[in-house]
């Protein structure tokens, strides 16, 4: 499988997690790319590459800054994502009770609406938990990979 790991961040946590997921995937796969969402063209989402999105929440349940240009480009292009499979890992903080971890859901909704299929559990990290985001994400990854290969 080929992988594209995308992150949307404001304070850098998602980037670190995305890089750690990328490094883990490279141990067993040759073709793994990691991009900041703001440097990624939605037209590049293809069924050939399994996509993992790591994205935090800012403002009041909003996308983080680096994911906003991507969302705008996405809405302008509305790419057909039929056949695209992806997994989601959302960052948030239960301190923000009403809007907890909603940032990544903005991307998730867009992907689903355009026909992409989410695979595996929806991963979450809570900044109030004091767990390391990367630890949680690396524990989450095998389940996603298993689900991904089971549905091929």
């Amino acid at each position: 499988m080929k992988f594209t790991v995308l992150y949307g961040t404001e304070s850098g946590n998602s980037e670190l997690i995305a890089e750690d997921l990328g490094a883990k995937l490279r141990e067993t796969h040759d073709d793994v790319e990691v991009f900041d969402l703001q440097n990624f063209d939605p037209a590049e989402l293809t069924p050939e590459r399994f996509t993992i999105v790591v994205c935090s929440t800012h403002g009041e349940g909003d996308l983080p800054n680096t994911a906003i240009p991507f969302a705008e480009a996405f809405d302008a292009a509305l790419p057909d994502l039929t056949g695209v499979r992806y997994a989601m890992f959302g960052l948030g903080d239960t301190f923000y009770e009403e809007t907890y971890s909603q940032g990544s859901e903005h991307i998730d909704r867009r992907f689903a609406q355009q026909g992409a299929e989410r695979v595996g559990d929806y991963g979450r990290h809570d900044a109030s938990s004091w767990d390391m985001g990367s630890d949680v994400a690396l524990e989450w990854l095998p389940g996603v990979l298993e689900a991904a290969s089971a549905t091929v």
Binding site: E10, S11, G12, H58, E60, P64, N65, D93, F95, Y96
Partner: protein, 425 residues
Amino acid sequence: MSSSTTPKIAVIGSGPAGCYLAQSLLRAVPGCELTIFDRLASPFGLVRYGVAADHQHTKAITRQFDRLFQHEAVRFAGGIEVGRDVSLAQLRELFDAVVIATGLTADRELGIPGAELPGVIGAGAITRTLNAHPDAAAPLPALGSDVVIIGGGNVALDVLRFLVKDRAAYEGSDVADEALDAYLAAPAERVTLVSRSAAPDSKGDPQMLKELAALPRAVYSSPDPIEAGNAGEALDRAAAGRVAAIRELIAADRPRSTGPEVTLRFGLTPLRVLGEHRVEGVEFAAGDEVIVVPASSVVTAIGFAAHPDHAFAALTAAGAETGRVEPGLYRTGWAKRGPRGAIPENRACAKAVSDEIVADLADGSLSASPSTLGFDGLAAEVRDRAIGYEQWLRLDEHERSLAASDRVRRKLPDHDRMIDIARGA
């Protein structure tokens, strides 16, 4: 070849700005060697010494920075004050580039008659004491029964939250217990928070106001119209969130127990601080009216400025457009932008400054000289005194081990003692 492509860069300050800048440079300038200086034995700047003790989730960002300091190309040099232990000019000789990330520590002055009266206290002084900063006045100054907070931003709300909370609410925090004990021995009876702006335009995050509403403490009221912003214009989302949160706070049916009576005032401009020998009240202009609010103490939370004694205060221009002072000398974070913006903003700021450095390297206005010695060129006495990251970890561990069972850490306010412990003495 390799030495000419591997710049040695000094970063002055290990707060979010310095840490994000170092992260950015590690990616943008492969092979660079970074030394991050801090005048304190501990890294992280205001994450450790500004962010409220009861907001440990915000302090969790240090785990990201821990990763940075573990990088082989990054050195922490704590306990070294640039301008005292080593000059900026020396650093510029020893390093190919120097980045100022020293933040802004002085409380902005109120600048009205009476502002120098005893009993007028800067919010920075209070938040440093609560965070056991080694420079802080150890005992918390007595605040008395009637506290007036001037300012409506997040720091003002941090102070307000401190004034209304009781002891049980600090579970899991690293508050300086001496300061907490001193305050709770004689807590405020009345608190007035005064914002110059109308409620919708005041600067506090809605979430900070919601947090106050959720605490089972204090009774809130406001005589001012909460929705009167720029009349007629639709409120943006943050303003609408703020208005909703304030409504909830002052709602008659808000569940409450004990705690101070809090009055929220909006659209008031401070005119002068009243009092003979110490603060007795504050006079405000509210439109054409003049209002006097009695006060046993006044906490100013109206922003920060460069400390006048700071060795390069003149270089930390408030609100500079560019991080480049000249090729080879840069600034980032609050030292560049002025005292505005939360932790995440420093990341975007650092990226922009790192881009300027990369551009200067690319066009040759900045180049890595094979003869710059970097950290190794410092006087042996300075090098030996610098607290490395491993030594900080020892101090970190010590602080955690000292914590009472309901605290995450017990900070040592004595800097010499911190250094001894870091060194394993």
